[in-house]
């Protein structure tokens, strides 16, 4: 069994070292009218390439741009659609991070790709494969405020409207060179009865993905109850947060997996370094039950919840423990 190392989306865009503060300074200067939008974009690109370089240096084989250009995971792509605007701030799940609530004023319509250029830039600046990121239509719908009467109290209709719009973004990211496109749907863990809706939306993406592989990713909750349903999703990869319960591991032991799994066992929400014994024990239990020839090993969620130095260390720890595990005679 091969274990491929990947990042789970975001990466801290700012750190405590002076050179790691460039983006923060650039945003401040931009807000004060002291630099142009072009200057800000140049800084974003520079930070993006630095973040990619840092992941590669830490041993990561499927990198992301760290989502360093995103305002937040919920509103960034949503408000690029016609008839969706950014609203007030709200707490992002159980974190101390605030996102802007998308406000749906009418049918969400895709006009042009927001992310394709970013992917193309990452591909050009990476010696490793690049993963594109998208917060899924179901989660976006659940986290939006709906003013448009046609979508009021109609999560299925709004989800599919977002899905149709986002499918164009999937196609654009695939054409721009994304090897994998990760679709984050953490909200389905809170509303497990809607898992069929997520499947329906992903089916639209599957038609547009071209050569890219799709990953369905959940975090911030226990996916144990939905694990069986996830195995039927029209995606190649299921990426899960294993920091919430033992039940998920037991389910995999029982059911196995015919899909590539993203093993989010490195806790991206705590600075404590994960213990070798726990990781090895986890891999010993899960890997024998996976029938694909590789799995991804990754943090439990985006790394932006950690300080930059700890995020870097987590990735280095992943690399080190994978090496030690494989050379200790694990799967």
């Amino acid at each position: 069994m091969r274990l491929v190392l990947t990042n789970n989306g975001s990466y801290p865009r700012v750190g405590d070292r002076p050179q790691e503060r460039k983006l923060r300074v650039a945003h401040t200067k931009f807000a004060e009218g002291r630099i142009s939008e072009r200057d800000l974009k140049d800084t974003e690109n520079w930070v993006s390439s630095e973040v990619i370089r840092e992941q590669i240096a830490a041993g990561i084989e499927l990198v992301t741009d760290g989502m360093v250009r995103w305002h937040d995971p919920v509103s960034h792509v949503a408000v690029s659609l016609e008839n969706v605007r950014a609203g007030g701030l709200r707490r992002y799940f159980d974190s101390n991070f605030l996102y802007r609530q998308p406000i749906v004023e009418g049918e969400p319509r895709w006009v042009k790709s927001l992310l394709a250029d970013d992917i193309a830039f990452s591909v050009k600046n990476s010696t490793r494969f690049v993963k594109g990121m998208l917060t899924g239509p179901y989660t976006t719908a659940r986290m939006s405020i709906v003013n448009a009467p046609e979508y009021k109290d109609d999560i299925p209709k709004l989800t599919m409207a977002f899905a149709e719009a986002f499918a164009n973004e999937i196609e654009a990211m695939a054409q721009a060179g994304a090897k994998v496109i990760q679709i984050d749907e953490p909200m389905v863990l809170r509303h497990p009865g809607d898992v069929g809706l997520v499947r329906e939306a992903l089916a639209l993406f599957a038609e547009k993905k071209g050569k890219a592989e799709l990953a369905l990713c959940t975090y911030f909750g226990d996916a144990a109850k939905l694990y069986g349903d996830f195995q039927d999703m029209p995606v190649e990869i299921i990426s899960l947060d294993f920091t919430y319960s033992e039940d998920l591991i037991s389910n995999i032991e029982m059911v196995g997996s015919s899909k590539v799994l993203g093993l989010g066992i490195f806790n991206a929400r705590n600075t404590r370094m994960d213990s070798k014994d726990e990781i090895f024990h986890f891999l010993d239990r899960v890997l024998p039950r996976v029938s694909t020839d590789y799995c991804y090993l990754n943090p439990s969620c985006g790394l932006e919840f950690l300080p930059r130095d700890r995020a870097r260390k987590k990735l280095e720890l992943m690399t080190s423990l994978r090496y030690r595990y494989l050379h200790a005679g694990g799967q």
């Binding site: 801290p12 007030g88 701030l89 709200r90 707490r91 159980d94 991070f97 605030l98 405020i145 919840f305």
Partner: protein, 334 residues
């Protein structure tokens, strides 16, 4: 209003007492002093002089503006958790974490058992209170929020961390009471995100407040109120401070369904917007609150701390709240 309780504490307040949630923007001279201090161009004493100057500025301004229960404005704090972590034992100050947009904070890391070793806010409370005859609120961050907004490398689980913190934060509450503080706000903005942990937050607040002779307020914001209300009413405080102006968080239907028996501090201006509301807008929000909450249980304030606004915006926003409250006092039937 828990007027009887306030009276016992020796505090008489007018109808619609005006307060603010805690933080005010730092004047430019203090921002510069903080930068100079970070760059080691000035010493701690010089920084503290500027912090005192800014505190005095805000106390005097609130006094003159007609605010009834004052805050020190938190001129000496960076953010609401790190400030406490810097003084309590058991914490390390971690690297920068983004909280939204281009805002960052240093998230503390709990590396050993937390311990209150010395008063944290008492000298600032004494200083602020010495500048005014009006009551100044003691301002603390609650144990659940400190737990949730810190990394934990020491305790076994979230419960142990919260209870450990509550026992230590209580010592600061006791020190505030001992220093003569009678209105104490213990903020718990984090409790709105994990509804299943509401009983833990309630238990922790109980540890902080039980048997202490003060009027307690707790501020909660930007969360899923629909998930935690009406359980939120179990929080053992006299006054819940809620955001009623955030255009995207409509709490009113929840209050309507379960009318709170506590005092409610009604946030009447949106702190995330630069636009200063008109008195009519603010009055309309107050009228909406009055449809549900009896007049004698209503306090008025901004939705949240005003530190993200400019000094001028913060003043203008608080002035319009004062104006609305004063107008109501003069024409209560309108």
């Amino acid at each position: 209003m828990s007027r009887e309780h306030l009276t016992k504490l020796g505090i008489t307040l007018p109808e619609f007492p005006v307060t603010s949630v805690g933080s005010f923007p730092k004047p430019s001279y203090l921002k510069k002093a903080r930068e100079d201090y970070s760059a080691q161009r000035i010493d701690q004493e010089a920084l503290e002089r500027e912090e005192e100057r800014a505190t005095q500025f805000w106390i005097e301004w609130q006094d003159q503006a007609g605010v009834d229960v004052l805050v020190d404005g938190e001129m000496y704090r960076g953010d609401m958790v790190t400030f406490f972590a810097e003084t309590m034992r058991g914490f390390e100050i971690g690297g920068l974490i983004r909280s939204n947009g281009n805002r960052y904070y240093h998230k503390p890391i709990i590396t050993s058992a937390v311990e209150w070793v010395q008063p944290i806010t008492i000298e600032w409370f004494r200083f602020a209170q010495s500048l005014t005859e009006k009551p100044v609120k003691g301002m603390l961050t609650g144990p659940y929020t400190v737990m949730d907004w810190s990394f934990n490398e020491h305790y076994e689980n979230r419960r142990d961390t919260t209870i450990g913190l509550a026992k230590e934060i209580r010592k600061e509450v006791e020190a505030l009471v001992e220093a003569g503080c009678r209105i104490i706000q213990i903020d718990e903005p984090a409790i709105s995100v994990r509804p299943e942990e509401m009983p833990l937050a309630v238990e922790a607040m109980q540890i902080c407040t039980e048997g202490l002779d003060a009027y307690f307020i707790s501020h909660v914001c930007v969360g899923s109120f629909d998930q935690i209300y009406p359980q939120l009413l179990e929080l053992p405080v006299h006054n819940l401070d809620l955001e009623l102006s955030n255009p995207d968080v409509d709490i009113m239907p929840l209050l309507q369904a379960n009318v709170p028996q506590k005092d409610i501090s009604c946030g009447l201006v949106d702190v995330h917007s630069r636009e200063v509301e008109s008195q009519d807008e603010v009055d309309a929000r107050l009228s909406k609150a009055l449809e549900i909450i009896p007049q004698d249980r209503i306090w008025v304030d901004p939705d949240c701390g005003l530190k993200t606004r400019t000094v001028e915006e913060a003043q203008a926003k608080l002035e319009v709240v004062v104006a609305a409250a004063h107008a109501r006092r003069e024409s209560p039937s309108e």
